[in-house]
Amino acid sequence: MTHTITAIVQDHPGVLARVAGLFARRGFNIASLSVNRTHRPGMSRMVICVDGDQLTLEQITKQLHKLVEVLKVWDHVDDPVVQRELALIKVDADARTRSEIFQIATIFRAQIVDVSDRTVTIECTGLTDKIDALVRMLEPFGIKETARTGRVILVRGFQDT
């Protein structure tokens, strides 16, 4: 099962290496990772998706907590959340197939962000499942490249994440 963990960290040099190293060393598998500065100076937000059972998740959060530069950790098991991933998908497209691809994109509420005589590039936000489904739908046209981000996540409502 895949879990989503948020860690607020001090944005010191080496903090990403420390977190990544912790996962590697303890044999935790990172499915995806996103890191960025927050609006608060000196603080970064990491969102880490990991595969593992409940016990693994517990070890991961406890081990993360132990890192001196990690300020807060949430495992989002019971939280109502909004979460998004972003994908850019470059698909083979010519005059014949272009409109069909546009239609599929519309159904997925994805944007066309670039068109050339031989390709279309689509931007899609959503959850892993939705992006996977879009990719599957586009596969028959020939996918040239995909670029996907890790997940970002916030707890709904007033509560902090």
Partner: protein, 559 residues
């Protein structure tokens, strides 16, 4: 204006550091220059070692023996990498040390400059925390935080890497008000209701045992452990690192449990219905096969590190907090308990399965050497061991009566630990007798520190149990590989007596059983320099009992 080198010396003194162990190098000269002032004023003792691994183990031995933070220093590149084994040793056993390393100039970091090694990156998996100092003005706060982090919560090594240009650049110093570590707040007090629940669970238990580890030592919980044990008459076993937290001659003591623990401790664990783990982590050297370990027991687990609780076994009552604080709060809630059938059962096991070994008229048995040492030193010496058979025999036969008396590399199992750690312990405790019980293999990994011991006039005794083998490996080959001895024969390595003399230490040898006691007595009389005692022992003695790796008590062997 001061430089970071000056700030370092001031910071060390603010942290109460009275001794550092290390070797200088190009990038460290500005720092060593400032250290000289502190040394000449008598504020600091600067001990020059012969290999940086020795510096790290000395800092470690100093810390384990005294409870204070040990400090070691090494130059950039090879000096720093030489520290790694010592840092990892301290990490695995949760020992508070601060390692200071020189680094190449900031402008050339990352260019494979001369003697550049990314020690910050290399040590990342084996430190509690680490710093690369980018600006001199950050150093005072970093030092303050480093000592706090190393010594609080679950202690551990902290590394501070200081580039050469940073150490000389001047800045206006600000004295730190205290540690500033927003992401690090160890839990000291346990949860009140959980502690009360623990007291109830103890009252319900029929066959409880106290399982005491190194965490009880670092927390200073020996008095509380003893109070709890005596109040409830609950028998106590310890881990290797817990040795001495509870007096091993006490009627309630079952000694050390685990792979080479006493058979009676291991049998008692199998019959127990409650393990009260205090600063112990259910390590595989204690539990063997987890599925078969203590099959009837529930567990109360007290540990300052939440990540240890529930890591290896499921726990009925988890208590995160400092062992001493938690026990002090728990003891008044615990119902006194008279000694009963369970105590009688444990006493039976003790009588039935004492530690035994084959005696010999013309060969010194290693166990006998340790027992004689124990007698001669009234069980009062600080004992430091290498890794191997001699380490396990020491644990079995040198019964300890107080914490910080038995120093051994448990987690990493670092051969070469004994001599330097013993020197560090002797520096920390100048008035105590410090004896390294070493193996002929282990000793040869760090023996150059004899020179340090001679230079510093440290009267450490090194009793080498010389079996001419990498004995522990030979034992496994004996038991599990039909005596196919491969890569373990050390016979004829070196004459340890002449070697000691060459260093300016005293060298003695005992070969026959009747020479043992007189030789040890002569060694005890040496008070101004190290003394090496080459005790030539039975070559093929095995450490027994033994639970083979990953197995259970059912597979315990006695020969």
């Amino acid at each position: 204006m001061i430089t970071a080198a000056e700030a370092l010396v001031q910071g060390l003194s603010r942290a109460g550091v009275d001794v550092i162990f290390g070797i200088p190098g190009g990038v460290l000269i500005p720092i060593y220059d400032k250290l000289l002032d502190a040394c000449q004023s008598g504020a600091l003792r600067n001990i020059l070692v012969r290999h940086e691994q020795g510096a790290a183990h000395m800092a470690d031995g100093y810390a384990r023996a005294s409870g204070r933070v040990g400090v070691c220093v090494a130059t950039s590149g090879p000096g720093a990498t030489n520290l790694v084994t010592g840092i990892a040793t301290a990490y695995m056993d949760s020992v508070p040390i601060v390692a200071l390393t020189g680094q190449v100039r900031t402008s050339v970091i990352g260019t494979d400059a001369f003697q550049e090694a990314d020690i910050f990156g290399i040590t990342m998996p084996v430190v509690k925390h680490s710093y690369l100092v980018k600006r001199g003005q950050d150093l005072p706060q970093i030092l303050c935080d480093a000592f706090y982090i190393a010594s609080s919560g679950r202690p551990g090594p902290v590394l501070i890497d200081i580039p050469a240009d940073v150490s000389v650049a001047p800045f206006e110093p600000v004295v730190p008000e205290g540690p500033d570590t927003p992401g690090y707040r160890p839990t000291v007090r346990g949860n009140y209701r959980t502690i009360r629940r623990a007291a109830e669970v103890i009252a319900e238990a029929q066959r409880p045992l106290l399982y005491v580890g190194g965490g009880a030592v670092s927390s200073g919980a020996a008095d509380e452990v003893r109070k709890l044990a005596e109040l409830t008459n609950i028998p106590v076993f310890t881990t290797l690192l817990g040795k001495g937290v509870f007096p091993e001659t006490h009627r309630l003591s079952l000694g050390m449990a685990g792979m080479h623990g006493t058979a009676y401790a291991n049998y008692a664990i199998q019959e127990s219905d409650l393990l009260i783990a205090i600063g112990a982590r259910f390590d595989d050297r204690v539990t063997g096969d987890l599925k078969k370990f203590a099959p009837m027991a529930r567990a109360i687990h007290i540990d300052v590190d939440p990540a240890e609780i529930g890591k290896n076994v499921s726990v009925t009552v988890p208590i995160v907090g400092d062992c001493k604080t938690v026990l002090a709060e728990m003891i008044p809630m615990v119902k006194p308990r008279e000694a009963d059938h369970w105590n009688a059962r444990c006493d039976d096991l003790k009588a039935q399965y004492p530690l035994r070994y084959k005696q010999s008229a013309d060969t010194i048995m290693p166990q006998q050497a340790i027992e004689e040492l124990h007698r001669l030193t009234s069980g009062e010496a600080i004992v430091v061991t290498g890794v191997g058979q001699h380490q396990m025999w020491s644990a079995q036969h040198y019964l300890c009566s107080r914490p910080r008396q038995f120093l051994s590399s448990g987690g990493l199992g670092t051969m070469g630990y004994a001599l330097p750690a013993a020197l560090g312990a002797q520096v920390a405790c100048p008035d105590q007798l410090v004896v390294a019980i070493d193996g002929d293999g282990s000793f040869q990994m760090t023996l150059q520190e004899l020179a340090t011991g001679v230079a510093e006039r440290l009267p450490v005794k090194v009793m080498i149990l010389n079996n001419g083998y990498l004995g522990m490996v030979r034992q496994w080959q004996d038991l599990f590989y039909s005596k196919r001895y491969s890569g373990v024969d050390l016979a004829g390595s070196v004459d340890f007596v002449k070697l000691a003399e060459a260093y300016g230490a005293v060298g003695l040898r005992a070969t026959r059983p009747d020479e043992l006691v007189p030789t040890l007595e002569r060694a005890m009389a040496v008070t101004d320099r190290p003394c090496v005692i080459d005790v030539v022992v039975d070559r093929e003695a095995n450490v027994m009992p033994m639970i083979p790796s990953g197995r259970s008590v059912d597979d315990m062997r006695f020969e």
